[in-house]
Amino acid sequence: MTSITDTFAPATDARYSPGEVGDFVALLKPRVMFLVVFTALVGMTVVHNAVSPVIAAIALLCIAVGGGASGALNMWWDRDIDAVMTRTARRPIPAGRVEAGEALAFGLTLSVGSVIVLGLATNWLAAALLAFTIFFYAVIYSMWLKRSTPQNIVIGGAAGALPPMVADAAVTGTLGIESLVLFAIIFLWTPPHFWALALVKSGDYARAGVPMLPNVAGPDATRLQIWLYTLVLVPVGVLPAVLGFGGAAYAVVSVVSGLGMLALAWRVYRVRTGDAAMKSAQQLFGFSILYLFLLFAVLLAESALGLRLALPVLG
């Protein structure tokens, strides 16, 4: 027969969480959060801002917290596969520093809080879009697509592409062509970026049973897809200059860095064996981050510094 002490002692121990504050910050995926805030900020600056800087800052905070919350929900759901992948095994839940239930509660609380505050601070279109973004990433991508189709990151990429549209809705109350183009850039950028990583880490994904394209269709089919997506991405990357919300500096940077993306994607397509193949995939992965950062940084700089010099030919 168990005594009262025996019954309660383990439960009390289990309820104690060894997690540090930093572990809960890690649940928010700070690097992804930075990208979310950065792209959302650009989404705000390229449109006609109808709200005060204070409201815009609060909206940005809500978008950041909402993005972080979806990261926590993703880590809660993916804790089993995170544990078997070298890239993710040290995350707080598989490492045993945060309990799964804590991560779920943390993610849900921040999700609901960020959506409500964004709705109260700005408008309910923006709040609904933020809720949809969180739902899309946590449920559609993490719970459904990621483990069921090699097109997981193509469709799931929409979640990462939505922050500029949420930001646009927050400061204008509607959605414009500018944020739609920014959405398209991030959406088309996601497959070449993640498939380049998947080519390098295909063993990791295979061990975890995640059907990434290289594991399902093979590396060569993945290389072709990377090349095709890059072919579409680069012209879309120039669109802000064509449409007039990117200036001369943006036109130059988007064309030059776009040519860099094309060159690296072509090399990934052509070089298929040995260390050189791995190296070219790694280089494309690294450069793709720089490419996206450059496009958005130049748009931000042009808007913030008033340097948007419209191209004479393109209007």
Binding site: D13, S17, G19, E20, V21, F24, V54, I55, L61, A121
Partner: protein, 47 residues
């Protein structure tokens, strides 16, 4: 409750401080939001 080691107590304390700071931040956020949305009129009302 089982005795916590000094390290566990330190972690719990830092988590408590973080939660307190987050709550204080929320209070400040709603205060700033109210002033930003309603402007100075928020203070002009019948006593």
């Amino acid at each position: 409750m089982a005795d916590l080691t000094p390290e566990e107590q330190k972690r719990r304390r830092s988590r408590s401080i973080a939660i307190a700071l987050a709550l204080a931040g929320l209070v400040a956020l709603f205060y700033i939001l109210t002033i930003a949305k309603m402007g100075p009129q928020v203070l002009q009302r019948a006593i």
